[in-house]
Amino acid sequence: MAARASRLTRFNIAALALGFAFLYLPIVILVIYSFNASKLVTVWGGWSLRWYGDFFNDQAMLAAAWMSLRVALVSATAATLLGTLAAVALSRGGHFRGRTLFSGMLYAPLVMPEVITGLSLLLLFVALDAERGFWTVTIAHTTLTMCFVAVVVQSRLGSLDRSLEEAAMDLGCDPVRAFFAATVPLIWPAVAAGWMLACALSLDDLVIASFTTGPGSATLPIRIYSEVRLGVKPEINAICTLIIGVVTLVIVAASLASKLSSARGESAAPL
């Protein structure tokens, strides 16, 4: 969307600047202060990387970060599998009875308040007497993110021509191989985008994780939140900057994957 120079009036530039300032000023300040040499959060004491060094020496923080990363990778993978299967079933299952209900139910968690999702999962884990920790958080995040994956993949499948799979069958593939030969190459960018989206969502989540985690297995957002309650340390700024960097990378990669699929002449997955 290359706007022509003539359309960039002063008003447009001002509006754009204001909007982006509103969105990104707090983040920019956080990033700048993460390089602050001063121990006091509000006083500028020159540039320094010491808080990054502190973070990499803080065993509790590193453990929390490693926990978050594992939860994100495992839950995103599980959510991608389940979400893709759900999307395939819904768009390829024909018009079976209750199809609209099923796809509505798949999307409902998208708008469900996280507190409710977290609480209901907590009740479930308590009822099952499951030991809360890595696996409960992972399962909870899978629940949270699989509907996002399903939405992304289903929109891609919906734009695909059914006769491609028929052509593959006609040319010698059994139905399963036809799916892998004709459909998977065309939906994989959407699947990859869904996976990355799930990863980013899992890394960000505080509410559901705090409901479903147990003692000794805090994720990074939980850890940060509990530290901040005792007062903002500059180290937190450094960690947040790193998280912003990782999430940005993941989201950019996801939208590139989605663009790649749209460049193949089909409509892009919504991101």
Binding site: D161, D170, L186
Partner: protein, 389 residues
């Protein structure tokens, strides 16, 4: 080359080496029925298609022709009846195990594969060795004249080129039977006409049996050896293009294929090979009696517009007297000049509208008529078709 054939793995038998002699039915469709819910898409349909034939299924949309084609490809299974290919029932055989390939209406080219990749797709599935696949792809590319475009992706090709890739891909496995679902519908008129001729030439050269589905009667008439006209899941008539046009078996076929004038009436007299029919709105018409005279006397007479001639005074009265010529008088109401032909509509004094078309065989309009002019429309009884109402 003998080695190549031995190596061809699960590839369907090559047409010219192992098939029964010509004229043996390659395909027998036996009382096949297909329902979708309460809707009967194909209704107890039987048909035989011979080896090497170019067969067209012609009908309006929704007549069941595509459903029938999809049953031949294996994408739908018949509820009742049998489909025999070389004497073997293939109704339960899955699409990938049939020696049948299909060219899809929207071509269904794999967008992530190049032209060569698309053509090679079915060959790879058949487990052919790489060198032979390369040879076969080159052969197919040459066959459909796509040399130099092998590395392009489908979205970098024009509609006509995509159509050729789809054809090459479907032919690459050397199917015994090639199914074509409206293969030319997406092309513009000029390209469609030249492609029709190329398809015919290709089919003759390969000897492969083609079954094409189309709603375009001109396309069917141009290309097919025989045409099956379908309506509401049934075959109304199976015949050569000429028979279909000149000797339709029903009023529906007569009206569906080409243009025709139809007069309803009752049989007044039978005199040898001649019937005299009293029509409702065109007076008495003499027509050649059909070979199998029906019982009913309530019939209709049909005459194609190009067999109706117009003149200012009409043929000699004697010929009319003895029933050698039908002579109808009226006024020209409409003239449409179409280049090669001119179409006239004549309102008869008895009320009926008669369409006549005359070839413009001379540049000067010595033989044309203007709207409002009184004319005589005349035609021979032998050119009339008598049909049940």
């Amino acid at each position: 080359m003998a080695e190549d054939i031995a190596n061809s793995g699960t590839l369907p038998d090559s047409v010219d080496t192992r098939l029964p002699p010509k004229d043996a039915p390659l395909l027998r469709i036996d009382a096949v029925e297909k329902r979708f819910g309460g809707f009967v898409a194909v209704d107890e349909l039987s048909l035989e298609i011979r080896t090497g034939e170019f067969f067209a299924l012609l009908g309006p949309s929704g007549c069941g022709k595509t459903t029938l084609l999809r049953m031949l490809a294996g994408f739908e299974s018949p509820d009742r009846g049998r489909i025999l290919l070389n004497g073997q029932d293939i109704a339960a055989v899955l699409p990938h195990q049939r020696p049948v390939n299909m060219m899809f209406q929207n071509y269904a080219l794999f967008p992530h594969l190049s032209v060569a990749g698309n053509i090679a797709f079915g060959l790879k599935r058949a487990g052919l060795p790489g060198a032979e696949i390369a040879d076969r792809v080159a052969e197919m590319v040459a066959l459909v004249k796509l040399e130099g475009l092998e590395k392009r992706r489908p979205d970098q090709l024009s509609g006509g080129q995509q159509q050729r890739v789809a054809l090459a891909r479907a032919l690459a496995r050397r199917p015994q039977l090639l199914l074509l679902d409206e293969p030319l519908a997406a092309l513009d008129k000029k390209l469609r006409e030249s492609t029709q001729l190329e398809l015919m030439a290709l089919q003759r050269r390969l000897g492969t049996t083609f079954v094409i589905v189309t709603h375009d009667q001109e396309e069917a008439m141009t290309m097919a050896d025989r045409i099956g006209v379908m309506e509401s899941g049934r075959l109304e008539q199976v015949a050569t293009p000429r028979q279909l046009y000149e000797a339709p078996v029903s009023r529906w076929v007569a009206e569906f294929v080409g243009d025709i004038n139809i007069f309803e009436g009752t049989v007044e007299a039978r005199d040898g090979g001649r019937l005299t029919i009293a029509t409702r709105d065109a007076g008495a018409i003499v027509a050649a009696a059909p070979r199998q005279p029906g019982e009913t006397t309530r019939i209709c007479v049909a005459i194609r517009p190009e067999k109706v001639r117009l003149s200012r005074r009409g043929p000699v009265a004697d010929a009319v007297e003895i029933g050698a010529i039908n002579r109808l008088e009226g006024v020209v109401t409409d003239v449409s000049y179409l280049g090669g032909l001119t179409g006239y509509t004549v309102k008869l004094d008895d009320g009926a509208l008669v369409r006549a078309s005359m070839a413009n065989i001379a540049r000067l309009d010595i033989d044309s008529y203007a709207a409002g002019q009184r004319v005589v429309a005349w035609f021979s009884p032998d050119d009339c078709v008598v049909l049940e109402r």
